[in-house]
């Protein structure tokens, strides 16, 4: 009986529902996070001084505030200035902005690491500015940024559980409900933990595959 608990249809469907919400949180947030990260990272390297300043300030605050605090600001704080977000919307907003700030660090580092000699060589071959960025800078920067950015996404998978703290019932939230209803706290959170473990492991595996695929001999991570 005990072992079969997690095979009951309503439990399974609750877990599946939670997992689906989590996935809906994770995928858009990581996409927005990457977009923000690349944009802000590029601005921090190539922008004019004012833009750089603003971008640096954004990163400072969004990496400095705990994610929980940010989520509370979006969900409980914004209504005070007349903006009402659903807990789901506030979560995606919070995850994207926070993740983007972290992502931009890796992107910035990657852009900075592409040696100026490479740009000059491209220019000397007659590449335009845009073409230089597209065909020389980006492919190199992408490889350098990939491990860090990929790890950020793995972090995001785990941090998506914090949506529960602003009442968005995703996987952890469903788990909390199941556990409280059944008083099976240990088993339930073991199962929930295992599901996250699968998600993070699969993400890590994909990331490793991607890194191997893009491997270039002699192109060191940090040179």
């Amino acid at each position: 009986m005990n072992e079969l608990f997690f095979l009951q249809p309503d439990i399974i469907s609750a877990l599946a529902r939670g997992l689906w919400v989590s996935v809906q949180l994770i995928i858009p947030s990581s996409l927005f996070g990457v977009i923000i990260g690349v944009t802000v990272g590029a601005l921090r390297v190539y922008g004019n001084p004012l833009v750089k300043r603003i971008a640096d300030g954004y990163v400072l605050v969004f990496r400095g505030f705990p994610l929980v605090v940010q989520l509370f600001i979006w969900y409980f704080g914004l209504p005070h200035i007349g903006i009402y977000l659903t807990s789901f919307g506030a979560s995606v907003l919070g995850f994207s902005l926070c993740s983007g700030a972290y992502q931009s660090e890796y992107v910035r580092g990657a852009f900075l690491s592409v040696k100026t000699g490479q740009t000059m060589a491209a220019r000397a071959l007659g590449f335009s500015g845009i073409k230089t960025v597209l065909f020389v800078t980006l492919p190199q920067a992408f490889r350098r940024a990939l491990p860090g950015c990929g790890n950020e996404i793995i972090y995001l998978i785990k941090y998506s559980s914090l949506a529960y703290m602003i009442t968005c019932i995703e996987l952890t939230g469903e788990g909390k409900i199941i556990a409280s209803d059944s008083f099976r706290f240990t088993e339930t959170f073991m199962v929930i933990g295992a599901i996250y473990l699968v998600l993070t492991s699969v993400a890590a595996w994909i990331l490793r595959r991607l890194e191997d695929r893009l491997y270039i001999p002699g192109f060191e991570q940090y040179s």
Binding site: L60, V61, G64, F65, P66, L67, V68, V69, Q70, F72, I73, F76, G77, P79, H80, I81, K158, Y159, S160, S161, L162, Y164, M165, T172, G175, K176, A179, F185, T186, E187, T188, F189, M190, I192, G193, Y196, L197, T200, S201
Partner: protein
Amino acid sequence: MTESLIVLYGALPYLLRGSLVTIAVVAGAMMLGLVLGIHLAVGQVYGGRWLRRVIGVYVWFFRGVPLLVLLFLFYFGLCSLLQINLSAFTVSVIVLGLISSAYQSQIFRGAIMSLPQGQLKAARALGMSDGKAIALIILPQTLRLSIPGWSNEYSIVLKDSAVAYALGVMEMMARAHFVASRTYEHLPLYFAAGFLFMILTYLGTKGLRILEEKVRIPGYSA
């Protein structure tokens, strides 16, 4: 606006007392993570195949499961299952410490592996046991090299400690929310909490940078 400031001013001592709780949680977790992390790292580098495998699983587990889930698992699950009565504070320190030990072990492992391995041979050749050689020769250098990574880990654990609010630990975040929900001054209070976290990050990392400079080995650039 002025009203907000008055509320904030009144709440500040209360928040600051919360910062002491935050500091206690983080200090406890970092220390637990340090002690466990060193052992895990040494085991992972010098241990036998089985030990390495077990440590690998440990690290994989604690790096792959969300903090919040582990807090719930330990506090609501394991504590009552094993009939041990631990406070939310203690559970938070333990869980944050276990997670941190997994991350710290990787910092230390990297540092150990970056050391020239001949020194271990030289220590053995002098008649040192492996334990002595690791404690006297390998670890002092490992810990020095690990300070930047450790500093980064500190800033992560510090921010993660806000999640302890979910168990009702009255740290900064919990107190900010507590006051906010009574005074309806959410934004100023959250921002105050956020900035306090930033200040703690700054102070901690600054302190570690000073420490790093202080224990730097002359002539050695790594």
